[in-house]
Assembly symmetry: C2
Homo-oligomer: 241 residues x 2
């Protein structure tokens, strides 16, 4: 299934022991209610607390004779109105939303106008401190494309597995009210898109030199990269298989 959600009031995608206030938890609860037995739901990846999705992909296995249309209707009927199931399709039994995922695209929206974007205010990060030089941000972004060890851009200092990922593209578009950054890659470490965005903001405001990305990558030092941009500006756009 593909899922859209406003992450504002959730503790992120992943089920946690202390709270049932997660997207994965809500989906699992409604599917379990429908089937009468516990249904596990696997997402293409975790999104942090406060992060949104327009095209999260999730997989699950259920017994019983439910059509995709029935499942879609049941989910949308019982889910809260800030979570929507956009599509439900049958998949091969080997399909797994996380393990089968080839690439994902995240969008980060920076609002730079003193005039608030009233109707999207919960889906943007307003940055008014200094003007951002988009040319410098693009120059830095180019150096991040490709296969690298992104340990310096990982929010989890105890991460033990490989932190090598491939960024396929970073597109940066400016308009009258702000800047949109689209990141496509084969996978992203914890907080990685938010740290990439924070670093590019600090490049744009002159705090970090545009040509230092290779150095920061090879340092593998989180302290060298920029701040972690806040979650509300980030949306998972799509997952590809």
């Amino acid at each position: 299934m593909t899922v859209a959600y406003d992450g504002t009031r959730y503790n992120g995608w992943q089920i946690q022991r202390n709270t049932d206030n997660t997207i994965q938890g809500k989906l699992s609860a409604v599917l379990s209610k429908m089937t009468g037995s516990m249904v596990e739901v696997h997402g293409s990846g975790r999104t942090d607390a406060g992060v949104h999705a327009r095209g999260q992909v999730a997989s699950f296995e259920i017994d019983g004779n439910y059509s995709p249309a029935e499942i879609l209707a049941y989910l949308n009927r019982y889910l809260p109105d800030d979570i929507a199931v956009l599509t439900v399709d049958r998949a091969d039994s080997r399909f797994h939303a996380r393990l089968s995922c080839r690439q994902k695209t995240y969008r980060y929206r920076i609002h730079t106008s003193i005039v608030p974007d009233v109707f999207n205010r919960k889906y943007v990060y307003t940055y008014l401190d200094k003007p951002l030089n988009v040319g410098l941000m693009r120059r830095a972004a180019e150096q991040l494309i490709g296969k690298h060890d992104f340990k310096a851009f990982c929010g989890n200092p105890h991460f033990k597995k490989s932190s090598v990922r491939t960024i396929i593209s970073i597109n940066i578009n400016a308009d009258a009210n702000g800047i949109t950054l689209d990141f496509t890659g084969d996978g992203f470490l914890q907080n990685m898109v938010r740290i990439l965005t924070g670093t590019l903001i600090e490049v744009g405001n002159g705090n970090i030199p545009a040509d230092s990305m290779s150095d920061i990558l090879s340092s593998q030092d989180r302290q060298r990269a920029g701040f972690t941009a806040p979650p509300q500006g980030l949306t998972l756009i799509s997952a590809e298989y």
Copy 2:
């Protein structure tokens, strides 16, 4: 000035004795704070509690040497983030946002899919009861165009002034997820756009005959028209001068 607001948490545009929770009240308070003396703000028209605006126009008079840019910056700095002042311009001293207004456009959004529109959920009215026949709605809308006494479409039974208004156009557009109705007219009575919308919904679902609009108009009877569609689907788009 032109103003955008998310009306969800407000008691409407107009200042009321018992609450300061109105758009007009917030604008007046910030301008009064800026100038140090009471500033009255006049809108192109009142919007009901829960109704939104993308292009409300309001006028005010202040003493002192403030540039439009200074006023814009001050307002956006001190207003809550669900109210934005989009533009501020000097006007002729005879200009009055309500009295000088030639026409206004309101948009009503009906969401008809079982899949919620997560990111716009507070700005649409979800109607799932019955399928809506857009052809019938358009046929009924045509009979409402022009200069008529709209007493049957007025939410205030004690309204004593003329209830004659001219509707310039009603455009109805359907897409995969719902129906958008755009109403342009020289003025609208209390709840009038919401009652027009409710009536057109009842035409679309077969409850009211499409050809009965002229009868309803001439009856001047509120009971003959349809229900009052809820406020959250309605947005004031623009006011023309």
